[in-house]
């Protein structure tokens, strides 16, 4: 079975190659069906491999098996989390392709198959990153998914916002990748190895009894910077709303649903495999670093999410808030918290992709994603409205959705003080989505007014007057576009209710983790109560916001926070540098002992 691991990236990549070579003379439905077939084959491959992942599948590409414990080849790891991520990536890719089926306007003309080919390349990059067991190989696939994502984000070149957002995304993420490469070079110099497990051995041998030194610390900070830029942790997060607000909807589903989470997965993988030994970083310092960043990310994401009126941007900030929660769970370095994060990521992928899919329908139907100007206009889109509202509740953590289960399990593991962050962030992001649902699909409350007095720069990013992504405005919602969000939401529900599924996920994550502990994952009374609390808070906040808009309108103290999101790539780079320094400062006690 391990022989098949390299095919996880290779199948979609070959699909893309063939699609570009032969696609231009194919009719569009054939090209799209071929794209779906390649994505589905990869998904099937990942799901077939999953039951064989205990003990983990290990493959040396090219047959370079280690001799005497040493190899010159590249190792791939097929354990529960890596294959699970590959499966999630592939299924979500399939959903995105189905959503864009036939309706998504796909220039350039005469190049049928270009869009599905790019999506397949994106899938290949993400699958390759998920199964990488070699640090440089992980960097290569990291760059592949980034490069494709830049092109996909700027896909609609006729829009000024799209190209600007794509360039900010590309500059910041590429810089982050070079930080990571500098870190890899330092680790190679110290250990003479590139396979993650061998680097860890080398670090342990070099550290002896002294523990980590400045080189280990710097390498850790540099590699982490690259991964945290991808996972949009504060203060590396600025590129994400800009990119998500402008990318085509099927691309947003993938960016928010899995690509950002792969950054968190990368943090988990790299810390667990490379830096968790005696030569790596002590657990207390890593926890301090990741939890501080996670709390900041959750808070900034949730507050910014609440003050958006551009619906796609609002969803983007909610992704930031949730990434913060995943980071906290990964950061406390406990088996149970890892399980919670895994379930939360699975549930969140379905919910967030469904929300973006609904926002895309609004865009294609009305040519705007502005909460204010859409007030009451989507009353007759009942199915879409119901999906959107239920997804909002699920985002807030309504049991028995997978998001609720993941949240409950994480809360149990991280302890009481951090639970406050979970409840607050999920309630606030859920409330923002419910507020939009009540206004747009039900027409509740007074029509929101533009701010009186002078118009501020921050209010111009409203999402009004956007170009639909379909060839012309939709008159009725095509069946594929309506079904995909419902299916995604059902999948998020299944994560929480299918008996035994959560236990399987938890077992697979614990087995792959470094803690050597197995925890049982299930619903608890406290967890359900906390989930209900955040859901009720979300509903309450949304109701107040809709009926008494004055009470919860943007206070002056939130303005400086919004001003930081300046759209200026130089600012983003400056914050990236500050973030690296912050990481270094937070982890510094590791070398002072």
């Amino acid at each position: 079975m391990h022989r098949l691991l390299p095919l996880l990236p290779a199948v979609p990549l070959l699909g893309a190659g063939l699609l570009v070579a032969g696609g231009r003379h194919l009719p569009r439905p054939v090209a799209e069906a071929f794209g779906c077939l390649a994505a589905a084959t990869t998904a099937a491959l990942a799901i077939v491999l999953l039951p064989h992942s205990s003990p983990a599948l290990v493959e040396w590409v090219g047959g370079w098996f280690p001799k005497g414990g040493e190899s010159v080849g590249i190792v791939l790891i097929g354990d529960g989390p890596s294959l699970g991520m590959a499966a999630l990536v592939s299924l979500l890719t399939l959903a995105a392709l189905a959503y864009s089926w036939h309706y998504f306007d796909e220039p350039p003309r005469g190049h049928a198959g270009t869009f599905p080919a790019l999506i397949l390349l994106f899938q290949g990059g993400m699958c390759g990153f998920a199964v990488a067991g070699d640090l440089f190989n992980a960097f290569v696939f990291f760059e592949l998914m980034s490069a494709v994502a830049y092109a996909l984000t700027g896909y609609r070149i006729d829009e000024a916002k799209a190209v600007q957002g794509a360039l900010s995304f590309a500059l910041v993420n590429s810089l982050g990748a070079y930080f990571m490469l500098m870190g890899i070079a330092l680790l190679y110099a110290r250990t003479g190895e590139l396979a993650m497990a061998k680097i860890a051995e080398g670090l342990n041998a070099a550290a002896g009894h002294h523990g980590p030194d400045a080189l280990t610390l710097t390498a850790f900070v540099l590699v982490l910077t690259g991964l945290l830029v991808k996972s949009a942790a504060v203060p590396f997060q600025f590129w994400l709303p800009d990119a998500h607000a402008v990318a085509p909807t099927p691309v947003c589903m993938l960016l928010s649903g899995v690509m950002v989470e792969l950054g968190v997965y990368g943090v988990w993988r790299v810390y667990g495999t490379v830096f968790s030994g005696p030569g790596g970083l002590p657990a207390a310092d890593v926890t301090r670093t990741l939890v501080v960043l996670g709390v900041l990310t959750g808070a900034v994401g949730a507050v910014m999410c609440w003050y958006q009126r551009h619906i796609k941007r609002l969803l983007a900030f909610s992704t930031i808030a949730h990434t913060g929660l995943f980071l906290i769970a990964v950061g406390v370095l406990k088996a149970e918290a890892d399980d919670g994060a895994a379930l939360y990521i699975l549930g969140h992928a379905g919910v967030k992709a469904a929300l973006f899919a609904c926002a895309g329908i609004l865009l294609d139907r009305y040519g705007t994603v502005d909460e204010f100007s859409l007030h009451g206009r989507a009353r007759h889109l009942r199915g879409v409205g119901a999906t959107f509202a239920v997804a909002g509740l699920a985002l807030a953590g309504l049991p028995p959705f997978g998001t609720g289960l993941g949240k409950a399990v994480s809360e149990e593991a991280v302890g009481a003080p951090l639970t406050v962050v979970y409840v607050a962030a999920s309630a606030l992001t859920g409330a923002a989505v419910l507020r939009v649902a009540a206004r747009v699909f039900l027409g509740f409350g007074p029509r929101p007014e533009e701010r009186e007095g002078e118009e501020r720069e921050e209010d111009k990013t409203s999402g009004a007057d956007e170009e639909p992504e379909t060839r012309q405005r939709l008159v009725r919602v095509p069946r594929t576009m309506g079904t995909v969000p419902a299916v995604l939401l059902a999948a998020a529900l299944a994560v929480g209710v299918v008996p035994g599924f959560a236990g399987l996920v938890g077992h697979a994550v614990d087995e792959a983790g470094t803690w050597g502990v197995f925890s049982s994952v299930h619903w608890t009374a406290t967890g359900v109560l906390l989930d209900l609390l955040s859901t009720l808070l979300a509903v309450g906040l949304a109701l107040v916001a809709v009926t008494r808009p004055g009470l919860l309108s943007a206070p002056e103290w939130a303005l400086p926070l919004r001003r930081l999101q300046s759209g200026h790539v130089g600012d983003y780079v400056a914050w990236l540098l500050v973030g690296t320094t912050l990481l270094g400062a937070l982890a510094l006690p590791a070398v002072l002992r």
Partner: protein, 125 residues
């Protein structure tokens, strides 16, 4: 003797420090750039720092290229071939990403009529 060992100490780290300096200069340029084409260039500078660091890490005193078509294997020390392969990968990655960035810059120049990041007025708040 003292000054001699100081000189060796400097030559033992100087190439690494050059890489660090090039990286920092690239970051500074990227953050303060007034022109997006210049910013893309600064990113390439940051990337050059990774080449310098990788190749410096792989150097061996008195080493030659690890190509044995004209030297007998084992007759001379050779530098680390792995970092050279990594650098080649890095060069290709950098060139392609630069192409994508410049393509986006071309479109920004057309849609916004400027390549000065200070004058791009979208995506705030």
């Amino acid at each position: 003797m003292g000054s001699e060992s100081a000189v060796t100490a400097v030559t033992h780290v100087l190439p690494y420090l050059v890489a660090a300096y090039v990286f920092l200069v690239g970051c500074y340029g990227l953050a303060t750039s007034r022109n997006l084409i210049h910013a893309v260039g600064c990113l390439a500078v940051c990337q050059s720092a990774t080449y310098v660091l990788l190749l410096a890490v792989g150097y061996r005193d008195g080493g030659t290229a690890p190509v044995f078509s004209d030297i007998r294997p084992g007759s001379r020390p050779v530098v680390d071939p792995v970092v050279q392969a990594l650098t080649l990968t890095d060069v290709v990655v950098g060139a392609t990403v630069t192409a994508l960035l410049l393509a986006l810059t071309v479109q920004i120049a057309k849609r916004h009529g400027t390549v000065d990041p200070d004058e791009l007025r979208e995506l705030r708040g």
